[in-house]
Symmetry: C4
Subunit: 234 residues, 4 copies
């Protein structure tokens, strides 16, 4: 069972190196079946070339492996934490895509400098605080990675639908969407806008972020009740 | 029935991701039949993979959709504005190509630093002023985007044939040509010279633009009555 | 004889241009049979396109060519020096991959700014001192290149398993691993983290390296008795 | 006749976009038959996709077109000037490859920062002075482009075999070799070392060029009577 769920997760994982977002085995994608409370995720450290849909590992929201002979991605607890906290998302993607990761390593938000960014995000791509020694070394590092993301969104009252990506400080981006395919699309967009922002900063180190009207216009063209981009209203 | 026009527009749209100018569905190309006053443009938000020539949407110069079951690109009013103002152009291309978009986000012209640039442009690639809140939020955002381009060319008396591209501030480039295929070629050149200019500025932050004689020589090698580049005289 | 060893070395060499690590004929990979004290290495200056497994040259640890009609890579003495000094490594890779080479040319370590780096290295990727005129001109340049690497690891008590790459000052990276395939993987990772570091420095010129807890956590996730990344315990 | 000469020139021209050195139709390659004093060069402004060996245009050293129905590359007089001045070269390549062109636009030599560079050049890649208005506008622009190159090599007593490339100020690189295939290889190397140099300068803006011993060692490994790189002695 869960054949379709595993196929979706599989295809999302395979699309990551095809989009140039993944080197080696850095990165993973997961898709959740909300009705069953089960998500499918990539096995840990397996080369993309040999991956099959049946290799996807099934995990429930308590963290129990319910199917699959391979060990799940070591980042599984981060995915689980996000699925628990952000109840409307259907998929999570983690990459070490180069430009977005450069911002994460530098501990900086990706500033919103143009409409490309505003087509996907309602503001800067946020960055977490650094994790504490206790969080890192206490035996639940990957779960705590999810916690610092959830903490940031709670403290700043960010809606995950308006901010579908985060940079984990010193680490790399996580993205999400109503489906895992959408989470992949956001991962592509995140890398793209990080590249644009890096070059814009090179041209104008003190560049200000875009005007609120333009931000709202572009975000709303694609999201919400008034959206008119694409073939459907959302 | 405009089969050839739709095929031209289709092929131009498909060539954009092939040239590395487009990520996801950012970007669109259109071709006009001047005799009929009808242009063909990409449908909105449709993936390039599934696009067919018959999917191209036909629009007249009053903005009425005259053929096609899909919704046209949300940027259609910008294309229409340019076709109306620049009466000699046969095609328009819009991309978010990365280096050109970095200049647009920074609100800077692409300075003319070498002969590669002068082979296509008679000076810096101009950048529009920022749009006002009224222009953005007044319900005709994409039409107003065209207006700020037209205003810039009028105020500075720029000939669209000598300056076949513009950067929309905070947004990205638009290019044009006597055919849509030529507009694609200019889009490739615009991205290329933006990349060259960014690196030249990294080497020499105060670099001056090229000498007028060299600019004229290279531009005239390829354009106008004395042109001797290529196999025909123009 | 040594058919498998030559095949491993051949495949590692061929994978270098496929990973974008090699331009022209810059670079080489070797694999050692520790029981026999024989290693297989690429012939010198032969185009990758025409390379065959049988072209690999066999060299013993005294530097004697024991098989092969072609001249071995001119960097063979550097590989031999590393095999002699680092008794647990099974393969060596040398590339001129662009971002790592930029750090080597600048004589700078690749600073450890994030978890991508810590997945492979227990600290900064070290850089050798410059070579002396005597070392360069004394007739054993490539052997001396190995010597400055070995000297650096001895002086700083670096374990080659914790630091599986080095930058030779003014030159380029060498990497290693328990197999030559692993040395290729480290070469890919080295180029990747050099790219990340360069961009991180562009964003934050004074960026500090990562906190020791995070470094240890990520390195230990993948290495040593407590490793839990991938499908086996090491 | 000259079938072989035209095939060599054709293959060199086709390899330029394959190596990523050429966008659109920027660039050209030529091969000379020294015994007959005839060279084959690309026709002007013809797309690479449709090019055939028979399209190559034959020109003699007086500049007369001796075969071919198409107009030769507009840069033909520059090639001819180089063939006349540098009597030992067999092929010339001109590209607008991005990193090398950035140095040309900035009017800066490519500084020799490492051994990759020294494998091909006996020092910095030189840059010409800017051309005068008379040289640009006097009706023989492309011939004068060759003249400023020849003037530079004469004034600084540079041997074209030791410095097989030049940057034309505000324009782009020209490279050469004993064959046109070698000139293509040097064009690849020139782009590669320009990329390395740009990044090295980003890391260390005041970086000094490499020590003379290391420069000589690497250049001599590959060139001249003591060369030991590759399978032959030269």
């Amino acid at each position: 069972m869960f054949t379709e769920l595993k196929r979706e997760a599989y295809e999302a994982n395979l699309s990551l190196p095809r989009h140039g977002l993944i080197n080696l085995t850095f990165g993973n994608a997961s898709a959740i079946d909300r009705a069953q409370g089960i998500f499918a995720i990539k096995p840990s450290g397996v080369a993309y070339a040999g991956l099959k849909p049946a290799d996807m590992v099934l995990i429930d929201l308590d963290g129990k492996q319910v199917q699959g002979s391979l060990r799940p991605s070591s980042d599984t607890p981060t995915h689980r934490r996000l699925f628990l906290a952000f109840s409307e998302i259907g998929g999570v993607v983690h990459t070490h895509s180069s430009h977005a990761t450069a911002f994460a390593q530098a501990g900086r938000e990706i500033p919103i400098f143009g409409t490309t960014h505003a087509d996907y995000f309602s503001g800067n791509v946020p960055v977490t605080r650094k994790m504490t020694s206790a969080e890192i070394g206490g035996g639940a590092y990957e779960w705590e990675t999810g916690n610092v993301i959830v903490e940031l969104f709670a403290q700043r009252s960010l809606n995950p639908a308006d901010y579908p990506a985060v940079l984990v400080n010193r680490h790399a981006p996580f993205t999400w969407g109503n489906t895992v395919a959408k989470a992949v699309e956001v991962a592509v967009a995140t890398e793209c806008i990080a590249h644009l922002a890096l070059m814009s900063l090179q041209l104008e180190p003190e560049l200000s972020t875009i005007e609120p009207e333009l931000l709202n216009k572009h975000f709303k063209r694609k999201h919400g009740p008034g959206a008119y981009y694409g073939q459907s209203g959302c």
